[in-house]
């Protein structure tokens, strides 16, 4: 089909794999951060807010570079945590996952937080008075009531993850068949002579995946409205 090479196929699969893994990996953290920012009052809240939202305004290349410094062989985490454990992250698909997760994190947190802020405080009070502890309340009230925000955040991060380029290219490189995702493959085709057709074919695939994701989101949202 469309004359894709095995490397192209693996780029398509890798894109989906990286975006999915990054989304699933971020979910519990994003939920926890959204919860803390909505329900807890503490010193350093502004700092946390800024830190979480920073990737939204920073150029992805900057994030990629900072991650490279942090996770690389000489980096703080790379040297003291990853190396002793024998973990090699940089220039693997796992690095692409981390880059995608960091860049997409604020996009995931924001809708979750909006959904949590919209929860009537009395629902939480009622659940506590009916004997539910705070963790029980999170799982049985806050989570299900804010589920739309959770889905919206996940879809946003997944979609953003499919298009991640700047941070990924720095920490994971552009190795065909290993760390090359769709955007990186398109970049390579676009900058090579007679690569236009292949670049366009990959663009079509990219559009197709995005449409599927958006349709899925819409379907899920409608199903929930009906359920209500």
């Amino acid at each position: 089909m469309l004359g894709f090479t095995p490397a192209d196929y693996s780029a398509i699969l890798l894109s989906v794999k990286v975006a999915t893994t990054a989304t699933l990996l971020s979910l519990p953290f994003a939920f926890a951060v959204a919860y803390v920012m909505t329900y807890r009052r503490f010193r350093g809240m502004v700092a946390l807010d800024v830190a979480v939202n920073l990737p939204l305004t920073l150029p992805p290349v900057v994030i990629g570079y900072l991650l490279l410094i942090l996770l690389g062989r000489e980096g703080l985490i790379g040297r003291h945590v990853l190396q002793p454990l024998g973990i090699q992250l940089i220039f693997t698909w796992k690095a692409a996952v981390i880059a995608t997760a960091v860049v997409g994190f604020p996009l995931m947190v924001r809708p979750m937080r909006t959904a949590m802020e919209a929860i009537d405080e009395r629902l939480i009070h009622v659940s506590r008075l009916l004997g539910a502890g705070w963790f029980d309340t999170i799982i049985t009230v806050i989570l299900p009531v804010s589920v739309r925000g959770i889905i919206a955040g996940s879809v946003l991060m997944f979609a953003r993850g499919l298009g991640e380029f700047g941070a990924t290219v720095i920490v994971a490189g552009n190795i065909p068949g290993v760390t090359q995702t769709i955007p990186l493959a398109i970049y390579e085709y676009a900058s090579s002579p007679r690569g236009d057709v292949m670049a366009l074919s990959l663009c079509a695939i990219s559009i197709a995946i995005s449409v599927v994701v958006l349709v899925f989101h819409e379907w899920l949202a409608r199903r929930m409205v009906r359920r209500d």
């Binding site: 009537d120 009395r122 629902l123 009070h125 009622v126 659940s127 506590r128 008075l129 009916l130 004997g131 539910a132 502890g133 029980d136 049985t140 009230v141 299900p144 009531v145 589920v147 359920r227 209500d228």
Partner: protein
């Protein structure tokens, strides 16, 4: 139920400082909006932390500022019903009702699910989503949910205020029945004296973050008679109506009352304002008012510039009428004197 409370709580520019001790099953907390009623119940429930003080419920200390003791809300076994039903939107009616029941330790489970459902008449709603319920149905489910948590004290924070009048008095019998059937003591919070009269035996009168007095709804209504245009609210529970010429006749004491707002339901609660009762010294031969009751004056009491007259209307019939000071002299009203009370059939308002 025995509740001892000494609490201090300061907000930006509001200070709540209360100290009281109450014993009983039906306690009211009365006061205008902004006087700290909801703050007080929030503190008793443990939803917010007092600055200092003590809360002791049935001998168990729930909060003690000096000992740094603050039992979490989920361990206080105090239930709450708010102004709005606040049902869990993601759960069915059944899911809402059983939320507290599931979390209640077996030793404390005394109230059965089926009994509550029966008293509140919500069996047919069981599998519905809560968004498809009417306002009254939602509040009934909210009451059921709180009761099924098997609380030792129920905090009713203006549970009727968000409902319109007809709905409000529809909920009242359910609320009273459920608390009586399962012997759950409650604190009933409201700014409505009428609700206080219906729902409580004792009342804590709150104003500006302080408990002014421990009193009764009856005493409050009498004290306020002179201030309010409406006067004293007589509440009459009447039974077995008979249709008569398009209106309804109810037996009351050993007399009969003709009421325009009556209906065929076997029992009704009616409100009659003291200002709608006219007193005559002797029998007026002809009068347009359809109810003319022969009464004996039990006593009179003063409220501002008005005089309240306690009337014994025979049988269990008892009314409070209201007259001016001159009228007292002109009619010669004093203890044991006989008067006729005239009330129009349209003066009665049906509450339930």
């Amino acid at each position: 139920m025995e509740l001892q409370v000494t609490l201090q709580k300061r907000f930006n520019n509001f200070h709540l400082g209360v100290e009281f001790e109450v014993q009983g099953e039906r306690i009211g907390v009365f006061g205008p909006s902004g006087c700290g009623k909801s703050t007080l119940v929030g503190l008793i429930a443990g939803l917010s932390k007092p600055d200092r003080g003590k809360v002791i419920l049935d001998g168990e200390t729930l909060y003690d500022g000096t000992k740094n003791l603050n039992i979490r809300p989920e361990h206080r076994r105090v239930g709450m019903v708010f102004q709005r039903p606040s049902l869990f939107p993601h759960l069915s009616v059944k899911g809402n009702l059983t939320y507290g029941l599931k979390r209640c330790s077996p030793a404390n489970r005394k109230i059965s699910f089926d009994d509550v459902v029966e008293v509140l008449q919500i069996k047919h709603l069981m599998d519905r989503g809560v968004k498809y319920l009417s306002g009254g149905e939602k509040q009934r489910v909210a009451i059921g949910r709180a009761v099924l948590g098997n609380p030792r004290l129920l905090l009713l924070d203006e549970p009727l205020s968000a409902l319109d009048d007809s709905l409000k008095f529809n909920i009242v019998p359910f609320l009273k029945d459920v608390c009586r059937t399962f012997t759950i003591p409650y604190l009933f919070i409201s700014h409505s004296l009428l609700e206080m009269q219906i729902m409580t035996d004792q009342v804590l009168n709150l104003s500006d973050g302080r408990v002014l007095e421990k009193t009764t709804a009856e005493a409050l209504v009498r004290a306020r008679m002179g201030e309010s245009m409406a006067g004293y609210m007589n509440l009459l529970r009447l039974t077995s109506p008979q249709p008569v010429d398009g209106i309804y006749a109810y037996n009351w004491g050993n007399q009969q009352l003709l009421i325009a707002s009556g209906d065929s339901q076997p029992e009704g609660l009616f409100e009659l304002l003291s200002t709608d009762i006219i007193l005559f010294k002797s029998h007026p031969e002809a009068i347009s008012a359809r109810n003319l009751l022969q009464c004996r004056v039990i006593r009179t009491f003063e409220a501002r510039h008005r005089i309240g007259v306690d009337l014994d209307c025979g049988g269990d019939g008892h009314l409070v009428a209201e007259v001016s000071k001159q009228a007292v002299e002109e009619l010669g009203i004093r203890e044991r004197s006989e008067v006729y009370a005239a009330v129009k059939a349209t003066a009665f308002r049906k509450l339930v």
